[in-house]
Symmetry: C2
Subunit: 146 residues, 2 copies
DNA sequence: AATACACGTAACCCGTCTTGTTACAGAAAG
DNA sequence: CTTTCTGTAACAAGACGGGTTACGTGTATT
């Protein structure tokens, strides 16, 4: 396990759910993602809390979209999974006493902050529907050549 | 231990070495960084291989700068420690078969790539000497008010 | 020569975090 | 009342940075 793949996975599943004519069970979704049902429930819990998806218990239950993909941005999904840390590098301690270390961390945090702002800005400006469109275009291309 | 702090630590120590009139031992450096001598040697090994610092064994030995801080950028140091992964998030698999997943990962990688480019650009444009100057300014300010 | 000092490196453990897995309780449909 | 679901808790696995011990090697001092 290297990098947190929850964002990627949730985007992936949201698009599949949009294409799925009926409720999808955690098991069905797990097979799509190549993982397991418990992981799906665990990760989707955040999306449910934010009202992006809805789950029904019992026989015939499962998951379904509660909002249009046009109303869900990558940022929304990122927030819904708990806004995990974006960067794998950073300063060593929170409040260093050493002034040299403070100067180092200030510069480092500046650069990281800039990158984070840009990244989250991109996340905000892209909806899951945009990605679904990318897929549609790619799929059309794919079948056209086949 | 959350985020990789090697870059921060190496920048920190390079500035201290520039201020240090003589060779610094791994133990001395370890105390500055709040860590231990073996970790220092391990991490500094990368800087030595790139020729940014030089180490001398035996009695009276230790570490010294092999280049001016003006000639070492944050990017150089980042590379020297092995260019560890910058991001803590990312796609789930390398080459997904699912076209939906491919579309998701493409968008995600686009955004990550943009952020990485920006970050490394900042790293390239800042020298360790720049940070040392920040410290000097801050230190002057500090003693002035005291 | 002997000793003390300091780097070089391998080996191992620990803490943290994501992910996978098992187990079990609750709810809804047949 | 059994089957099919979700909802959680609990725990193991794997990865990775960092801390620690141990031991080898080179160098100056005595």
């Amino acid at each position: 396990m290297r990098r947190d793949s929850r964002l990627s996975r949730m985007l992936h599943v949201l698009i599949h759910m949009d294409r799925h004519y009926k409720r999808a069970t955690s098991d069905t979704i797990a097979q799509m993602l190549g993982t397991n049902a418990v992981v799906v429930r665990r990760t989707m819990a955040g999306l449910r809390k934010q009202g992006y998806v809805h789950s029904e218990q019992g026989h015939g239950g499962g998951w379904e979209l509660a909002r249009a993909l046009t109303d869900i941005s990558l940022f929304d999904v990122y927030q819904a999974i708990g806004a995990p840390p974006l960067f794998a590098i950073g300063p060593s301690v929170e409040q260093p006493e050493c002034l040299v270390e403070q100067a180092v961390d200030a510069r480092l945090n500046d650069a990281l902050q800039e990158a984070e702002t840009l990244l989250l800005e991109r996340f905000r400006s892209v909806t899951v529907a945009d990605i679904a469109q990318d897929f549609d275009a790619c799929f059309a291309e794919h079948t056209h050549h086949a």
